[in-house]
Symmetry: C2
DNA sequence: CGATTCATTGACCGGGATCAAGAACCGTGG
DNA sequence: CCACGGTTCTTGATCCCGGTCAATGAATCG
């Protein structure tokens, strides 16, 4: 979580301690495929994914599910909830996950008294917005192959940015149906595209462990340009933690 | 602009005056198809559309343009710019428009000293995010006909919410190519779908003036559910300004 | 070790893209 | 007022990416 926030700028020791304290306070384990918060609800708490994998999604009239974003460890789920009356989408785990709750009032205090943390949260919201805009391009203008490559590459980058993985091998415990829900394709077609990506030596999968064999090739297939993630403060500095973690990827 | 912000909650007279002052200070007319701010730039000012119509867009390698959002009067263009180093997309007018500039430092002062305005801006960002998420569903899961209906209906609602129009007739000075860039379709197909919508009595167009003849039918075709716009505070109250303006539409 | 979920394969179909050409609508200058 | 060149809008013919349907393996799990 702290690593996530420090992708924007380093936090003073004081802030780090505070964040640590708040997120240690109340934690809960969720199984895979459990809702953390549902559309229309209003929770007094905000949630932060600490480990595992979650997603923002919406169910459509016809029963289809659209996944709008993946949430990797460190991502706040619903920091907006004390501005808005209700959630306009749901959040669920995809894999078993550890999630921290912070009470809305403590959160408010922190945002008011800790400008550094407030800025980091704001940055996080803006990054989310950038990710969403990029998704629109992805869906509107790229073909199925690029779209899937793009999703995989983005998760790879974001996981590396928070230091969950060190190389190109990562736990990505989602089904092809989940990927289809995220890309707006059918599971059948996702399957075919993944096969092609394996044939072309871009990725390999053994169960839930995915390996990106050819990062440059994948980035290329995805037409990936990381500038929308606004990781530049951290990543442009090759001395920084995040800079090291992202070397060669963006 | 004030009407836009008050969709979240009414502002005290003091705040309204301040907003008025700041947006009156420096204004500039843009012609149609002019860039207000370009991808990669960093401007010391933030911009707000006061009249006309603008859009967020991105140019792709292949020359395609993807429009990611329409900006109607009252919408801030780049309130985030003093958090982020650079814009990850461009903003351009579609029609001749009046745009206000507010200096970043004045903006910062205002956000720090006027919690009401700060909240309203935050709400505005979150609404933007909701709009983006809805677009992802739109592009990922709905067919061309619904997608176009959806775009038209959203613009109708948002224009009514800020009180630019009173009935279902509005100036929507965009070309079919623009609409294609926004929906991720080809101009040819947009044309065919618009014809179908005219045939079915949903809309009519005379030059730049569009009329929604059958709002309920259009909303239906669009599968439109306005909850993501978070207009509930204002719109749920039938006595309020915005409530009156949106009556029967959402 | 059945049962259920997940991955894979094949045959077929259709929505929307693509290409191309003509019509209607500009703003502009003579 | 009309002639013009350039957008924008329309229409038709054709093609292909990705959806749909359905059946079969392969994993995973009580």
């Amino acid at each position: 979580m702290i690593k996530r926030m420090e992708q924007y700028m380093p936090l003073p020791e004081e802030d780090r301690r505070l964040l640590n304290e708040l997120t240690s306070d109340r934690q809960r384990h969720y199984a895979a495929r459990e809702d953390i918060i549902r559309e229309g609800e209003h929770s007094p708490d905000i949630h932060i994914v600490l480990s595992g994998l979650a997603c923002r999604y919406k169910l459509l009239e016809n029963g289809n599910r659209q996944i709008m974003a993946f949430l990797v460890p460190g991502d706040p789920c619903d920091a907006e909830i004390f501005i808005l009356k209700h959630m306009d989408h749901s959040i669920a785990t995809l894999a078993p996950s550890l999630v921290a709750s912070i009470s809305g009032s403590k959160m408010k205090d922190m945002l008011l008294n800790r400008p550094g943390i407030a800025l980091a949260f704001w940055w996080s919201t803006l990054q989310d917005e950038g990710i969403l805009r990029e998704r629109i391009i992805d869906e509107g203008r790229r073909d199925a192959y690029s779209r899937i490559a793009y999703m995989i590459y983005e998760v790879l980058i974001r996981m590396r940015a928070v230091g969950i993985i060190d190389d190109q091998k990562f736990e990505f415990p989602i089904t092809q149906t989940d990927l289809a829900d995220a890309t707006g394709l059918t599971p059948v077609h996702v399957n075919r595209m993944l096969q092609r990506m394996r044939d072309e030596g871009l990725i390999s999968t053994e169960g839930k462990v995915w390996t990106v064999l050819d990062p440059a090739g994948l980035r290329n297939a995805a037409r990936f340009d990381a500038s929308y993630l606004h990781l530049d403060r951290a990543a442009d500095d090759p001395e920084s933690e995040a800079g090291k973690r992202l070397k060669g990827l963006i």
